[in-house]
Symmetry: C2
Subunit: 246 residues, 2 copies
């Protein structure tokens, strides 16, 4: 069996997330189906590096699958196109070592979160960003963001329904930038807990609107329990930008 | 009767353009309906500055309507929100002089056209940009774009089905810029013919891919007839950015 690695872009709006389920369309489910049609292999199973939530987008999700097909590795991206809907695109494909795993070989991930920060809502970005009408204080948000960097127990930033066994993760950078009406938050780390980026962004929004002071962030981290006052930012602003490998 | 001016953002994907028609949903039609519900005035008619085509977007369309409603001018934007779908947003509203006309008072317009310029198609930008897989030569495109600036007879850049009576228009600037995988073309002018920006972009794409040389552009303008070899760029890359008034 050969092992193929894919890089995938998708618009998460129409999907119940990455992970396959029987009751709703998912990106993994649609991709499985497309690759099965292409190869004729009814048992083919694609595995992703990140289980993105419903409504979350990806610019560079990475996935792998095993196949006996003779299609050249680099040709899968083009070949599978006709079996995919417009909102899922395979950007590139290549053959990799048989022991490669998109998830277990990944050494880091980069996420981006977009906020439309202006009074009126945006018609064009409604499924691509979170609308925050109150003017955000970017400097305060960056001060708070700096407190989230490092190897820490991130229990405070984990969804209650997580099945994680330990909660220590390493965040390598959190950058907050304004470009006109758009506030862009870039989070890089070695690994992430369920909803972790969205809970971080929920906290940063509260700092940006003055409801939480940057000096309170350390205590929130150290509490090591999910604070019900911390909201989870909505999914449509989140993008999995890339997955890193050695 | 009072006159109200609106600034409107919309995602044109789901609409058969701005202009009202009986057979398909249009932005003007939906907006009329929303304002009629809000004011209770069954005859209310909103008039736009630009008749954008099916699939074309707007960041700053301008429209006006007459009303006897006592709602303060600045409050219409918020008040009409609950009658509008998510893909149409009124950004601002104000009361203006009774003789104001969004169309006849406009002294200029700015359009933006976005191209995703990379090999693989984009899932996220599929309804927001044109996908051109061949690497575009931005310098050649800018040279060609400079030949389109000025007061000229733009018959060569007008849709065959236009009802225009004369074809002289003034283009004040055409700027071509690359930002990573995105090529952005900004066109400013005093007035535009039907499909004019999209036909200009269709020509610039042919220059960018080397099929037409910048030196041929002058002859194309001077021919003063619609060249069937000039393709009309697809609508989803076009944005009406703003409408200018004195």
């Amino acid at each position: 069996m050969r092992k193929i690695k894919l890089v995938i872009e998708y618009d998460g709006t129409a999907y119940a997330g990455w992970q396959i389920q029987s009751v709703a369309p998912t990106v993994q489910g649609v991709l499985n189906e497309a690759l099965r049609k292409l190869t004729g292999e009814a048992e083919l199973k694609v595995r992703g590096a990140s289980r993105t939530d419903a409504g979350v987008h990806a610019l560079g999700q990475v996935a792998d699958f095993q196949t006996s097909s003779t299609i050249p590795g680099k040709s899968f991206a083009m070949a599978v196109k006709r079996h995919l809907p417009d909102d899922i695109a395979v950007i590139s494909s290549e053959e990799v070592d048989a022991d490669f795993g998109a998830r277990h070989n990944s050494v880091g991930k980069e996420y981006r979160y977009l906020i439309v920060n202006r009074g009126p809502r945006s018609a064009l970005e409604r499924e691509r960003a979170w609308h925050v009408p109150v003017r955000l204080d970017i400097e305060a948000m960056q001060s708070a963001a700096n407190m989230l960097v490092g190897e820490k127990d991130f229990t405070s930033f984990c969804a209650a329904e997580s099945d994680a066994e330990h909660f220590v993760r390493e965040i390598t950078s959190v950058d907050v930038e304004r470009r006109g009406e758009i506030v862009e938050i870039t989070v890089k780390g070695t690994a992430f807990l369920r909803h972790m980026v969205r809970i971080m962004v929920g906290l940063l929004e509260r700092v940006g609107t003055g409801k939480v002071s940057p000096s309170e962030v350390e205590a929130i981290v150290e509490a090591r329990e999910r604070d019900p006052a911390l909201m989870t930012a909505p999914p449509q602003g989140l993008y999995l930008v890339k997955v890193l490998y050695k």
